[in-house]
Symmetry: C2
């Protein structure tokens, strides 16, 4: 199944000049959803994953489903102030200013083998910050998976210490 | 499996005096995750669901997994400004002020049979607004499911036109 055909281009979102890759047209297609999940599952099936970590909020959509299929637990990484118990926080740089993400301190331990998942790899700043959080907790990052990778933004360079897998690649803007 | 044992009480979150029901301790437990998903699946298995609609963002975690198990598509309802294409919007009242949610206009049609899912039923304002969005699109709401229902807040009263199912009930604060 050619998943790329189910991705919609939305021009000028979120700002003028950006062509947004919209996965909602893939999500609403039951065969597209199922095929995407199976492909993500197949690339992680032999990694002995104990925790799937999904990045808020589109990373939750397949992250939860992957956790169940891989017989692992699910751990959310969220925007600041959303997680109720004690958290670890990591800041990262955006084009203008900074942002940050949090994880519960007791969500992961040093015996965990982690799959990190998000829908899209752009510049890689968020995922690199997520990796730092997992490393601080002493767990092993076995793999990072995305549905879409925007190759021309070279986000993979920020994640070069890890195995990175993406189902769909775009080579130019 | 007694799922209630996996839910954590966090006092004074998000504000003083509230005891927050934290599901992250359930999510990170692989058996808890799997058992929750199977219970949610079993209550919707014979409803001929064509679209699972998850409410941002905790409703995405099991919403995606339910879509795949029910052989349905997945549709996100999100906070304003997050969905890139044309949307329908619905406002709802909070204790102080209003909030709103959006859905893509082309996400659902009048032939769809919809399961709405979120993690927690409190006062029901968000889910009632979500139901209005689905009704506007002409689809049939077959069921609404939650992991947790705070019975003492009587959110079910706002959803009395629909079949509402919750896995875990709390009868007092």
């Amino acid at each position: 199944m050619d998943l790329k055909k189910l991705i919609r281009d939305v021009p000028n979102f979120p700002i003028e000049g950006i062509i947004f890759k919209d996965i909602t047209t893939l999500l609403k297609d039951k065969d597209g959803f199922s095929d995407t999940l199976n492909k993500l599952y197949n690339i992680s099936i032999n990694k002995e994953i104990t925790k799937v970590v999904g990045i808020e909020s589109r990373g939750f959509i397949f992250g939860g489903a992957l956790a169940e299929k891989l017989n692992a637990g699910f751990v959310p990484i969220r925007k600041p102030g959303k997680l109720p118990a004690k958290t670890l926080k990591e800041e990262y740089t955006l084009e203008y200013g900074t942002d940050s993400i949090e994880i519960h301190k007791d969500a992961i331990d040093e015996n965990d083998v982690v799959l990190l998942h998000d829908d899209l790899l752009a510049t890689g700043g968020t995922m690199a910050a997520a990796c730092k959080l997992i490393e601080k907790m002493g767990a092993r990052i076995a793999q990072i998976s995305f549905i879409i990778e925007l190759d021309f933004l070279k986000g993979r360079d920020l994640l070069k210490d890890y195995e990175v897998e993406s189902l769909i690649h775009y080579n130019n803007e």
